[in-house]
Amino acid sequence: MTENALINESDMSEQPSRPYSPYRDFFRQFRKNKLAVFGAGTLLILSLVAFLFWIFSIFEVHFPCDPTATELVAQLQGPSRQHPFGTDQLGRDVLARMAHGTRISLLVGFVAVGVAITVGVLIGSIAGYFGRWVDPLLMRFVDVVMCFPTFFLILTVVALLKPNFWNVMIVIGLTGWTGTARFVRAEILSIKERDYVKAIEAVGAKRRKIIFKHILPNALAPVLVSATLGVAGAILTEAGLSFLGFGVQPPRPTWGNILAEGRLYIFDAWWLTLFPGLAILLTVLSFNLFGEGLRDAFSRRA
């Protein structure tokens, strides 16, 4: 950390008038990582696209065109001015489908991770803080879930529930919480032993308050990092599920199912495979770079 420390010092000396702020420090660290900034930028654009097309779909504005409009005479046409990313086997515009798919693909990522983090933090902090018989019980449960072949779990649950897209998201989330749970538990176990927590406890603060006010915020940073990386993972998992026919069901477009369907036409319509593949690659890459940037910035700040 020698190099960073030096840079920090020089940065600080340039602006002595401004008081130290952890946030500003964090952003400064983050900005230095160009790849992370690139990731963040891409994500911002993608989120904008997703939001924009969500608004479009609410007000039924068909821009650039209706993603569900089948124009059979134009089936399997290559990229052109009218259809920059070509058309699929039903003559639907791939760009329009991908643009609408952005929202669903991102949503899959966020909801899945939301579920995973919520369950993970809840179970991890309960186990970590209450200890005694709760801890081993919950941790055995975590072991059991971890031992399950993820894929088998997802397939069974997807088969069990109706194959709508909320369920796909929830299921992906339900398989990803164990890491967070273990991590949060470990974090709490270590923080619990720290002097300041002991001090608060000695003063007679309530346990719940201690968890939420003092312990969890400390564990927040690493959870945030793993959430960001988790979104990337969830998007990939959805694509994999789509490949096997268990992802979000058409006609609701996701990049995963456009890609999965497109592969049947790989020699006849390469654009059906290339563009959604690149979109997934770019998004997952951005999340990964962004997450890594966060991790770096957090750890350097500490």
Binding site: V144, A239, V284, N288
Partner: protein, 319 residues
Amino acid sequence: MTTYIIRRILQCIPTLFGITVISFLMINIAPGGPIGQQLDPKVSPAVIEQWEKNFHLNEPLHKQYGLWLKDLLTGELKSFKDGRPVITKILERLPATILLSVISTIITFSIAIPLGVFSASHRYSMADHATTFLAFLGISMPSFWLAYMLILLFVKGFGLPVLGDRTFGLPGLGVSATFFDRAWHLLLPSLVLGIGGIAWLSRYARGSMLEVLEQDYIRTARAKGLAEDEVRYGHALRNALLPLITIFGFLIPSLISGAVITETIFAWPGIGRLGYDAVMSRDYPTVMTLATISAVLVLLGNLIADVLYAVVDPRIRYD
């Protein structure tokens, strides 16, 4: 240490029991059944009923579970699909899966570690940024998309078949030609399987190396006037790589858990496809056995990782 290991193994038993019970319940609750998988005008309801009887599916669940456990322990467990012993079915896929895992691990390690070390020793250089970026590209690739792109490249570009574990329809070849033919068919699937690992491991190796390079003893070594290469590859590298040994513990479950998508795409006759087909055709005995074996391996892998960790890092003591 021995007592620790024994205690850990004993702890695994309730976990394992829980896993078998939960997976048994799950597969039985899951809609669809092993019988009547076709809409065949020839299958009359009476035939289906008789089948259910033959497979004990009309018994209550706890009885079915007992039967399964008994058959598993006595090795009598038979697949619903073709009536063969489940163990035989699994054993016959094992070589293909292990071969693929091992080759993919070798490729992963032999590319990732040099890459990570190189990256760490040229920190913040263009080359470091480039490898970092490439590593992330690797992690972010949907594996089936990559597989398709690679297959497209080799089939269209070089006119060589890549599916399966050997070229079919060739006249008898010599030993070396057969060997290299098999090797060739291993390349793409193990690369696709390993790409995420390469990326992740190279990041890990880089971080680990960087951490070690900042240690005091490295500074001491430098201060002693040792050549930089000597410091890095003689002193630092070994210490940086030691923690990686524990990864082998986590590799054990992946030997069998397989990779459904990669195996499906490359027509690779491994465990992953066996499991996938078994889930799809609701072949309960096969699914259950695979779930159990994979759970055993995960637990075993965790144990080995912990033990290796203690062996590698003498500061850690288990009691």
